[in-house]
C-alpha cells in the first residue's frame, strides 16, 4: 500500500519532458517533488503563473508570490505572470498538457465529484470545474476508500459533480487504473504488497481485470 508520497511518486512517472502541468491542492502538490531534474516541466498555477518553483527559504516569502493554494512559493527562471482570464484561457485551449487533482468520488464513466457535500461543506469549486471540463489528460490522485471505508470508485457519483466523462487515470494507495472511454475502471497496476482481491473489494464501480496485473514500480 502506498502512502501519500508514494502516490505522488507514481503519478510523477506520468509526466513527460516538455509538459505543462497543473497540480491541484493536496497530494497533487507533492508530485512536484518527484519530477526528474532532467526533465523540462513547467508548472502552471491557475492564479496566474507559469514556472512555479519550490517554497521560498524562510524569510524570503513574498506576499505577492503565491500559488492557487494561497501558499507562498518561488518563481523559476523563465516564469511568466498573467491575469486570471488568460490563465483559464490557456487551460480551456488545452495548452496545459496534464492536470492532476484530488477527488471525493470518481465514477466508472469518468465523472468526478470533489467540490461540495450538500449541507456539510460548501467551499466552492475554485478552478476545478474549468480544469476538468477542458483538460485532455486528467489524473486523479486520491484514497481508494473514504474514512467510512466506502469505495470512492463508484458506478455513479453520489455527490454533486465537478465534471463529466473527464477522468482518464486514477492513482490510489492501492492501484493505478484507467477509466475506459466505454466505461469501467481498468486495473493497470497494483501497489506493492496489494492483491487484486483487495482492490476488487475496495472498488464499487465496474472493475476490469485482464491478464496478470503487475506490481507498480516507483
Amino acid at each position: 500500500m502506498l502512502d501519500k508520497t508514494g502516490i505522488a511518486k507514481r503519478i510523477a512517472k506520468e509526466i513527460k519532458d516538455g509538459y505543462y502541468v497543473n497540480l491541484g491542492i493536496g497530494i497533487p502538490t507533492l508530485v512536484a517533488n518527484y519530477i526528474p531534474q532532467s526533465m523540462d516541466v513547467v508548472l502552471q498555477s491557475e492564479n496566474g503563473l507559469l514556472g512555479m518553483g519550490p517554497f521560498p527559504f524562510e524569510g524570503e516569502e513574498d506576499a505577492d508570490v503565491i500559488n492557487a493554494g494561497k501558499q507562498t512559493i518561488t518563481m523559476l527562471p523563465g516564469s511568466a505572470i498573467f491575469d486570471s482570464a488568460m490563465s483559464f484561457g490557456m487551460i480551456r485551449a488545452r495548452k496545459v498538457n496534464l492536470t492532476i487533482l484530488g477527488a471525493m468520488e470518481v465514477s466508472e464513466n469518468g465523472d468526478i465529484a470533489n467540490w461540495k457535500i450538500p449541507g456539510k461543506m460548501v467551499k466552492g469549486m475554485g478552478g476545478a470545474m474549468d480544469l476538468v471540463a477542458s483538460a485532455e489528460n486528467i489524473i486523479v490522485a486520491m484514497q481508494h476508500v473514504n474514512k467510512a471505508g466506502e469505495s470512492k470508485l463508484l458506478p455513479q457519483c453520489t455527490l454533486p459533480l465537478t465534471g463529466v466523462n473527464c477522468v482518464k487515470k486514477i492513482v490510489t494507495e492501492l492501484a493505478v487504473l484507467d477509466v475506459l472511454p466505454g466505461g469501467g475502471f481498468k486495473l493497470l497496476e497494483r501497489a506493492p504488497g496489494v492483491s487484486v482481491e483487495e482492490i476488487k473489494n475496495a472498488t464499487a464501480g465496474k472493475l476490469i481485470i485482464e491478464g496478470e496485473i503487475p506490481e507498480m514500480e516507483i
Binding site: D64, I66, D83
Partner: protein, 232 residues
C-alpha cells in the same frame, strides 16, 4: 481629466447601498485593502460582491461580512471564512458559487464589450442548471453572461495619474480583468507616479479603463499560507 483622488474614503464616497461591486485579489493577495477598509468605515450595505474569495474572518471581504454589509457573494471559493459559512447556513447571506475561469472570463467579457461567452466549465453539473448549452464541434459549452458591476475596485503595484496600472507578480490575478469591467473603476496603488514614468510597453491596464486612482497607505499584504523550506 482628473482621475487622482486623495484617499480611499474620497474614491468610494458615492458607492451606495444595494450596488454591485467587483473586488480584485486572489485569497488575500492583491486585495484593495484601503478601499475595503473605507467601505467598512462607510458602512454601506446590501452589497453584491463579485470576488474570487470572501477573505478570512478578520481580513479582506471578511471584514465586510462581519458588519453584514454583503447581501450576496459571487465567488469561486469561499473555504477560508467561518463567519461566511455561518451566514450562509443561517440564510443571512446569498451565495452564488461559479467556476473560477467563468468568473474571470465574465469579467473580461464585460471589459471587451462581449455580452456573453462560451465555456465548457460546469457542463453536466449544477452550475449548468437553467443555462443555455450549445454544442460546437462535438463539445458542449455553457453560455455565460458578462458581469454588470457598478464599481470595480482593484489594487495595483504602480499607477500613473492617467490611470495606467502595473501589477506585481501573482498579485495581478483578477485585478486586470475586473479593472476593465466596472462601470466605474477605482484603482488603489502602492506607488502613484506621473505620466511617462511607466513604460508604455509594460502597462498592464491602460488608463482608459480606470476612472479613479489613489495612492494607498499602510499595506498589510497579509500572507494566508506561509510555506517555507529551510536552508540546507
Amino acid at each position: 481629466m482628473n482621475k487622482v483622488y486623495s484617499n480611499a474614503d474620497e474614491a468610494i464616497a458615492d458607492i451606495a447601498n444595494g450596488m454591485t461591486l467587483m473586488l480584485g485579489g486572489f485569497g488575500l493577495c492583491g486585495l484593495p485593502e484601503n478601499c475595503i477598509a473605507a467601505l467598512v468605515k462607510k458602512g454601506v450595505k446590501e452589497l453584491t460582491c463579485i470576488s474570487n474569495n470572501a477573505g478570512v474572518d478578520d481580513f479582506g471581504i471578511g471584514l465586510m461580512l462581519k458588519q453584514h454589509q454583503v447581501k450576496k457573494m459571487i465567488s469561486s471559493y469561499v473555504g477560508e471564512n467561518a463567519e461566511f459559512e455561518r451566514q450562509l447556513l443561517s440564510g443571512e447571506l446569498e451565495v452564488e458559487l461559479i467556476p473560477q475561469g467563468t468568473l474571470a472570463t465574465r469579467c473580461m467579457a464585460a471589459g471587451y464589450g462581449m455580452p456573453a461567452i462560451f465555456t465548457p466549465a460546469g457542463i453536466g453539473t449544477e452550475v449548468a442548471e437553467g443555462k443555455e448549452v450549445r454544442n460546437f464541434n462535438g463539445k458542449d459549452y455553457l453560455m455565460e453572461m458578462a458581469f454588470d458591476a457598478d464599481f470595480a475596485i482593484v489594487k495595483a503595484w504602480k499607477g500613473d495619474s492617467m490611470g495606467n496600472l502595473v501589477y506585481r507578480s501573482t498579485a495581478r490575478n483578477f485585478n486586470p480583468v475586473m479593472a476593465m469591467a466596472g462601470k466605474i473603476t477605482i484603482a488603489e496603488v502602492e506607488e502613484l507616479v506621473e505620466p511617462g514614468q511607466l513604460d508604455p510597453d509594460y502597462v498592464h491596464t491602460p488608463g482608459i479603463y480606470v476612472h479613479r486612482i489613489f495612492q494607498g497607505v499602510n499595506y498589510e499584504k497579509r500572507i494566508e499560507q506561509r510555506t517555507v523550506r529551510s536552508k540546507q
